[in-house]
């Protein structure tokens, strides 16, 4: 009898697992609220990868989006190529410094954006692991919540019937009513090809009962 897991020593099943279910769900909520809202998107960096939506938004917001179209106007282009070094040599030097630091800032902003996307992907992956944790383990935790007392059986057969003792049971089938820990009674019907003398009989019953229980939890 592996309960209660002698390798982990004496604490009983409920104490170990009861809180898991809530904790896993709390963690899922904490993780997922942020990412599944539509507003969670990344800032677009420069005109070329700005999609139209964000340019429209910028134009509506404060018209600066229009300045991104200066490349399409010759006279605006000429402003960009005005050379003031004749009257003020320092101006051009300064402007070159500004442009190189501006390009550097844009480069690191782009890198930062990529890292943020990787970070978000990491969060999504962690969120997926939490979901897996929930699917793999919540049923154990829920069963622990059902356990009122330390019974030596985690599966307790209460009734076995066949067509001869219960006409509602189809011919050749076996109906087994059982409890998992202190769950509500679960009824399992085993087809004729797995008779009660078959060594696999109780494994089939237990497998069906667990499937039924986990299905019920998911619903």
């Amino acid at each position: 009898n592996i309960m209660p897991f002698p390798m982990f020593g004496p604490p009983n099943f409920p104490d170990m697992f009861q809180s898991f279910f809530d904790m896993i769900h709390q963690a899922q909520q904490a993780m997922d609220v942020q990412f599944h809202r539509p507003s969670f998107h990344f800032p677009e960096l420069s005109a070329e990868n700005n999609d139209s939506r964000s340019v429209c938004k910028e134009i509506r917001h404060n018209s600066t989006g229009c300045l991104k179209m200066k490349d399409q106007c010759a006279k605006c282009q000429e402003i960009l190529s005005v050379d003031c070094s004749a009257t003020n040599p320092a101006q051009n030097q300064l402007r070159q410094e500004l442009n190189s630091s501006l390009q550097l800032a844009e480069k690191f902003t782009e890198l930062y954006d990529e890292l943020l996307q990787s970070y978000q992907q990491n969060m999504f992956n962690t969120s997926a692991l939490l979901k897996q944790l929930d699917e793999q383990f919540s049923w154990v935790s829920q069963l622990a919540n059902l356990t009122q007392n330390e019974d030596q059986y985690s599966l307790h057969v209460t009734t076995v019937a066949s067509h001869s003792s219960d006409s509602s049971v189809p011919n050749g089938f076996t109906k087994v009513v059982l409890k998992l820990f202190d769950s509500d009674p679960i009824t399992v019907t085993v087809p004729a090809d797995v008779s009660r003398n078959n060594p696999k009989f109780m494994e089939t019953v237990a497998e069906k009962a667990l499937q039924e229980y986990r299905q019920h939890l998911r619903e």
Binding site: L116, A161, V176
Partner: protein
């Protein structure tokens, strides 16, 4: 009338119990595997945070240099002013026309209001802003603000999750190694491993 004897029911319960216990054990193994995967994800996250911090520093440095150069340029922006103003008077109508054409074609909503707003914006703007790429600088500053907000939001979420997972993996049997069958050490004395998501300092705190 009972189809099987009490003894048979007990035998069946024992058989069924073995199967359920095996399934519970399998779930525990799965749980441990997921825990390991989450630890790897968390290590990955920490290294990403380090890279983000490095990129942030370089970005902030370049932004500071940009703003310094902009300030110095603004200090003597009257230079070339006439040339620029003359060009600006011809640049504005083209800019307005190009922008409104784009807006009507792509954005489809309310171009009247946007047109008046743009007119006002262009009349208040100076060609100097264009000359120093003021629009690109403002875009970067806006991006910078948004990126900080995005990371803060993600970090906040993750910290909540990690404290819950710490509890889940710390205070239950995960913090104990499976005991070998000969020696039984009471759970309380098992050495507490560093907490799940944070370095030891978290335990100190």
């Amino acid at each position: 009338e009972q189809e099987v004897s009490e003894r048979e029911l007990q035998e069946m319960s024992t058989e069924g119990t073995k199967y359920v216990n095996k399934e519970v054990k399998n779930s525990l193994k799965e749980l441990k595997q997921i825990k390991t995967l989450m630890e790897h994800k968390n290590d990955e996250r920490k290294s990403l945070l380090g890279n983000l911090e490095e990129a942030r520093k370089k970005k902030e440095e370049a932004l500071t240099d940009t703003k310094d150069a902009e300030m110095k340029l603004k200090a003597s922006q009257e230079v070339c002013n006439e040339t620029m103003m003359a060009l600006w008077e011809e640049c504005k109508p083209c800019l307005k026309q190009t922008c409104m054409k784009f807006y009507a074609r792509v954005c489809r909503s309310g171009s009247g209001l946007v047109g008046r707003q743009l007119e006002e914006f262009l009349n208040q703007s100076s060609p100097f802003y264009l000359w120093i790429n003021g629009d690109r600088i403002d875009s970067l500053l806006e991006n910078d603000r948004q990126q900080n907000h995005v990371l803060d939001a993600m970090e906040d979420r993750f910290n909540r999750v990690s404290s819950i997972m710490d509890d889940l993996f710390q205070d239950s049997f995960f913090s104990r190694e499976p005991l070998d069958t000969f020696h039984f050490s009471p759970f309380g004395s098992s050495p507490r491993r560093p907490s799940f998501f944070h370095s030891k300092s978290r335990l100190a705190r």
